[in-house]
Symmetry: C2
Subunit: 206 residues, 2 copies
């Protein structure tokens, strides 16, 4: 199944999941591709087509059972479990990420935090003790951690990525404003506020 | 032109722009929809179709002149100028955003920073003096600021958004893990690391 589905479709599933979770929290039990589309600015045809890759999950005319669809999407995305994440960098951004309240119940858990500054090592951050980046390869390999977030200054991001990949990391969320070179078996996503801002200026009148 | 183009297409243009800028920085002068597609994991047909909304920018068989395409996309996205941004929140995340190196030459400039904590007001942050959030409506209206970033704790995000919109803001980048309710003439984008993480777990073997 996996190889047939375009990554761009996979990329929309977490957005559907977020909207469905919101609807569920607001007390809704059923939704439609039309309602979801309105919420997200995506056509209902696109949503039906995306979900049809995985079997559909809804009946024509009766809409989607929200909690069932949430469960199915969590399973498809493999977030019906908790993934351990290594966070590299305990500066302003690393601290903000460590305290981020949005991970809960969405499949992720920051398991260890590393920084290269002696001022930060052994200090506490969000219930964890910051460790030296020198320990990262061993800790990541021992715990079998597959995911990491890079929150170091741009000039260090590539070397940190190389280290993480050598230790076994296969998915990286990069906050540094730099493109990473990684092997084909490693996924990278970028947190780039500018991409989001540029999507909005199109609609603005100066 | 504007009303005919799906937002999902507009959303891909900043990603093309980022990839093209990278190619240009690496010394490339010409690219193709095929090369761009390889870089981005998007089909070359999709890229050609997206760009055709704006006239195409390339000739069959000769590819795209990178610098010309960058200039055209900057014009379409209205980032061939600098937009002033109001940043609300000077905690860990606000500080990280204020120091973010990725805004330069991409159309944005943080013009003012607000925080509601007396401990932070009047302190310097990234060459600006943090102002009381009480001043935000006046400053935003006077300067005609249309864009803002919300980096406050989730429970305050909606009231901050309401205040910004009343002051004239029409585009909000929200870092708080909460969906905002806004009028139809206001755009919101979310920085949500979980959406990016969930897009990668699909490909991982636990």
């Amino acid at each position: 199944m996996q190889s047939n589905i375009p990554d761009i479709v996979i990329g929309r599933l977490p957005i559907y999941l977020r909207a469905l979770t919101r609807l569920s929290e607001e007390g809704h039990e059923v939704t439609s591709s039309h309602e979801l589309g309105q919420l997200l600015g995506i056509s209902s045809a696109q949503i039906r087509k995306d979900l049809s890759h995985f079997g559909g999950f809804g009946k024509q005319g009766t809409g989607y059972q929200i909690d069932y669809l949430i469960e199915q999407l969590r399973q498809v995305l493999k977030v019906n479990r908790e993934w351990e994440i290594a966070l590299i960098g305990a500066g302003d951004l690393g601290r903000a990420v460590a305290h981020y309240k949005g991970f809960k119940d969405r499949g992720f858990h920051i398991a260890c935090i590393f920084d290269s500054s002696p001022d930060k090592v052994d200090k506490k951050l969000a219930d964890l003790v910051i460790q030296s980046t020198d320990n990262a390869p061993r800790v990541i390999a021992e715990r079998g951690i597959k995911m990491a977030m890079i929150a170091v200054p741009a000039p260090y991001a590539q070397q940190v990525a190389d280290m993480l990949i050598a230790a076994g990391v296969r998915a990286i969320l990069n906050y540094a404003p730099i493109s990473l070179n990684v092997p084909e078996n490693v996924r990278v996503q970028y947190i780039d506020p500018v991409v989001h801002m540029q999507r909005m200026t199109y609609y603005l009148t100066p």
